[in-house]
Symmetry: D2
Subunit: 349 residues, 4 copies
């Protein structure tokens, strides 16, 4: 296949830098324009020294002119900024948005959590999401020209629990999720509560009680899986690690389902997936094991005493949780093998 060119808008953030890392290792992609807003004019080396081969590249200003002419444009911008850029990029350009702008189908859900106008809904970049009708998320991504990359928490939670909801072994009405995220999930802006001395050695929740913006996206995915509305209590917590999400999701078990039925549902959903690995019984996911990779490690059990299915997923919030999903979606959009150029082994220990 002929090399394609890819631009990254928002290259000075964590998602942008991770996109560059992955694209640099992709055999069919040539990295084109790298753009930023406040950091335009800086070198990549100033901002993201880990990108050694790009150290001397200067970040351009994020404008449609700079981004035009690439085969693929990745947007890693603050929410509300993607529509204006996307509108200027024609249908011959594949646009993959890592922000929230095009993820939600329900305008009212958008307006409850965001202060910018509803932009619309694009195909959703979660290829492994099982739905109630037996299809998976990748159906809508093949040949797509526009993709909305999922949020990192929704990726972990949805992949943890969707198989059981789709198979009817657990119920969507009273799902409880507690998830821990490494601090890169909060971005690279300098905020007092995020400095190292504050976060090392400490766990804390935030956005509790339904206040986190990812809640409607999680419910949207779980409803798709269940075939009916989902209601989720979601508590995100900040963990003392740079990367990684561990999502613990529980749902009431459906009447009459046993451990075998539960395990079968997850096994059917994931046995053939290249990036979702259902661990052998007795082993539980660990975020460190998927560091820097596009893998999701999943495990599930039935707590018969409590009447709940407990499913746990570990992802790297920047790789499978953002940039890896973006590249995976790009592969589907371009008709490439879905796993092209994506790391499948974590950097552990």
């Amino acid at each position: 296949m002929q090399m394609k060119t890819a631009a990254v808008a928002g290259a000075s953030g964590y998602a942008g830098a991770e996109l560059i890392r992955l694209l640099a290792g992709h055999p069919d992609i040539e990295v084109g324009a790298l753009t930023a807003s406040g950091n335009a004019g800086s070198t990549v080396g100033d901002i993201a020294p880990q990108l050694t081969p790009f150290a001397d590249r200067v970040l351009d200003e994020t404008t449609p002119e700079v981004l035009a002419g690439h085969d693929i444009v990745f947007l890693a911008l603050p929410h509300g900024h993607s529509a204006r850029i996307a509108a200027e990029l024609g249908e011959d350009t594949v646009v993959i948005d890592c922000g929230a702008d095009y993820r939600l189908r329900d305008e009212s859900a958008w307006t409850r959590f965001y202060d910018t106008p509803f932009a619309g809904t694009w195909p959703y970049g979660l290829p492994e999401l099982v739905t109630g009708d037996g299809t998976k998320g990748r159906e809508s991504l093949r040949g797509a020209r526009r993709v909305a990359v999922p949020g990192c928490y929704p990726t972990a939670v949805s992949l943890a629990l969707a198989p059981g909801l789709a198979a009817g072994v657990c119920e969507p009405e009273d799902v409880v999720v507690v998830a821990a995220s490494g601090t890169s999930g909060a971005g690279r802006a300098a905020k007092a509560h995020l400095i190292g001395a504050e976060v090392m050695g400490a766990m804390s929740p935030y956005g509790v009680g339904g206040a986190h913006r990812h809640t409607p996206e999680i419910e949207q995915n779980l409803a798709l899986a269940a075939g009916r509305a989902a209601r989720v209590s979601f508590t995100p917590t900040l963990a003392p690690m740079p990367r990684g999400i561990l999502a613990t999701a529980t749902a009431r078990v459906a009447e009459g389902c046993d451990e075998r039925a539960v395990r079968d549902a997850w096994s059917r959903a994931y046995d053939d997936e290249p990036f979702v690995h259902l661990l052998p019984e007795g082993r539980w996911p660990r975020t460190g094991d998927v560091l820097g990779s596009n893998q999701v490690h999943v495990q599930v059990t039935l707590d018969a005493h409590a009447g709940r299915v407990v499913a746990v997923a570990a992802v790297d919030n920047l790789t499978k949780g953002t940039a890896g999903a973006a590249v995976q979606s790009m592969n589907l959009a371009l008709g490439l093998p879905e796993d092209t150029g994506l790391p499948v082994i974590g950097v552990a220990p």
Copy 2:
């Protein structure tokens, strides 16, 4: 008051060392015998260099003879070892057991999780636990000669959720708890999955699906608070920090209760407590803020959308979670002011 002497059995473990730290700062206590099993003959400095003033003390063998003659004996032994020692210590000795042996009231719950004979039930060392009849846990501790110190997870979970159950604003039948613990909670035995390279940068669950031994103790406490049986889905996780527990506990809100009713319940329970601090609205607990202190930081909110009360508590698993609770119980047993000698300020950042 005249000085009392206190011995620590199991002084080479983390709980034992923390007991020594607290007792050394207690104005009415003189530290007596320090004993160990495999580490007998080592100096304190070899095992726990942080205990500088005790560096040259040699650890004795744990025997009733060595422990006899003290006013107070703290047991920080592996489960199943306390009964034999306690039997040899008369009623003139206050015995405070940091192990699990005497916590449970229900023998069948014990035998489901432990392979040693059921030892009995001692007064339970959680002074702030609100119960359905309007009393608190400290009632049974005043003048007690035997105390069972709570487990670290049950302390955090019970203090997080009991006020709402006791006040009837939430329900005990479908409680979901996910808690993160620092790795000192797993003890100081050298195990491959606990070495630094494995745990730093990684979150992972364990004992999922009701398999953790602390589950019946949590249910026992929550049932006491609610006045009826509690059913808990409990998922503990290992977090990359040395100390601290963050427990996120959710329960279905009772019909007709609003945010105000919820907040009032917690406020009534804790406004006068010296060691439980209900944070101002909008601020959430952070384990780092209670490091090395006997404080519990608690916050609660109502997620009306999900129909759940979400309560969060942060404790230091070794201080309020173990050794601090032991000293606080000792104070009550001896008739001292309950907060004597206990640190109330965390070592942060």
Copy 3:
């Protein structure tokens, strides 16, 4: 003794909060005014939630009027701000400056590193510093009305190496020091390179090649010990931990000195010190062991092959490295037992 009142100026920084923690545990001190600059008007709980008993206290504006009338005033201000405040506080007030303003004796050393006028020199708050004439630093502190608290790095480096220089077993002309500090040493200002995701999992040097402001203070102390000029290559590094300094200091061994002579020098210097603990041979300091305490752990050996003495010290940068030294100096100034109210046991693990 009658209670004395102490004010803390700069209470919203890390040093200020640690001062409050220590003063709250001091039997002879009542905490008075707590002041801040940009954070004036906030509560202590907003800024430093670990100070639970002070959670509702509102921070005053830092002015001489607010600080006047206390027996002791602690200044924890950015450099260059102490002189103006101190000038307004009479000699009946003990003023203890945690900043750099009054540490240096040599005006030219000051002006090489700071852009504000040289303020003068106050008695130096390092009681254990051995000097070439056989005295120790505490001589100048008894009854002092003004004290300059040492920098955290100079504390660690000077206590590590001074005994050998004072005893003549090693030489001050080519000292090499590499020290690692927890990130609280950089303060609590929100800077991009200090956010958790940047510092966790990473070590990095800064201020290399003599560029760090602590270099002249280190050389001043080592020269005092040696009785002649010292020349130091100092490289500080940022380590992925909230607190703690580990200083590794090497100096050329003096002609004819053996391991015994080296050990004797350190032993003589520290055997009677309450806060400096020379570890038994074969054990090396670990920052975690002094966390939250006023202890310094020190070890030394002779590398005969390399011709260098290697001395290592571990301190908590905020406790013995700043606030603990301030309180220890205050005790000396007030004629109290030097160790009053100071924690001697680290919060480990």
Copy 4:
């Protein structure tokens, strides 16, 4: 090029697992036998869950029979075990030893630090090492059938300082090195002082005073660079991070050399190297920036006041520090482009 097969002996250790990660991404290599000693019979997933695609592979016993027949055999064994295996593998097999057995040229240096017989000396796998005669380490590796992979500390220290010694701008007689290593450098054996609660939040030195086995290897490399004997004071420290080495190396500056001469020496040595990156002036290496990559980040400055050149290098101890160097050496041995299959971008933040 035709695919080659590679076996890994010692696949259950950290170095072995990292070799598998890199070899799995190498376009010309097929991963063959994976062997272990105590862990033989376990699956890769049991031991190293990050190696998802190999999760079901069972580890064979480490025997010459199992290893025979591969084009390349990597040995990642405890010291003293390589000779017996290597002797059974013919010259048609490329054998790359990640252990210490074949690194040293001086038998007496070996016997001072190791209790097994001296095995001999193999070509040394540090391609970028500049030597006094103007050649680099890679000369001896092209077409080699046996390679001794350097120790992780010697890699970092030698690459930091060799350019200045080779150019004569600094002197080898009184080199002082302090290096910090992530705890994976201590291996994955369960030892009490390495468990997470002990190492998180703590820095500590070990092997001080010339006691670390890597000292003669460092001196050997620096002597090769300088063209005369080197004398090194080496202090390794354990840092609270899983991976990474930060080595700070200082050497006395040669008479008459200025900053420009220093910088030129390093620039000449590394400007064309694919895996050693001399950072722009003012930026210093950070271990996190090379995580999981084969990069070395280097910086140097002249401290004219102290009369010392200060050079700092950051490497990932498992990648460029071990497994990456092994694969790089294999590439040279096989006549492949030296950088084939090696990651050049770090997984940061």
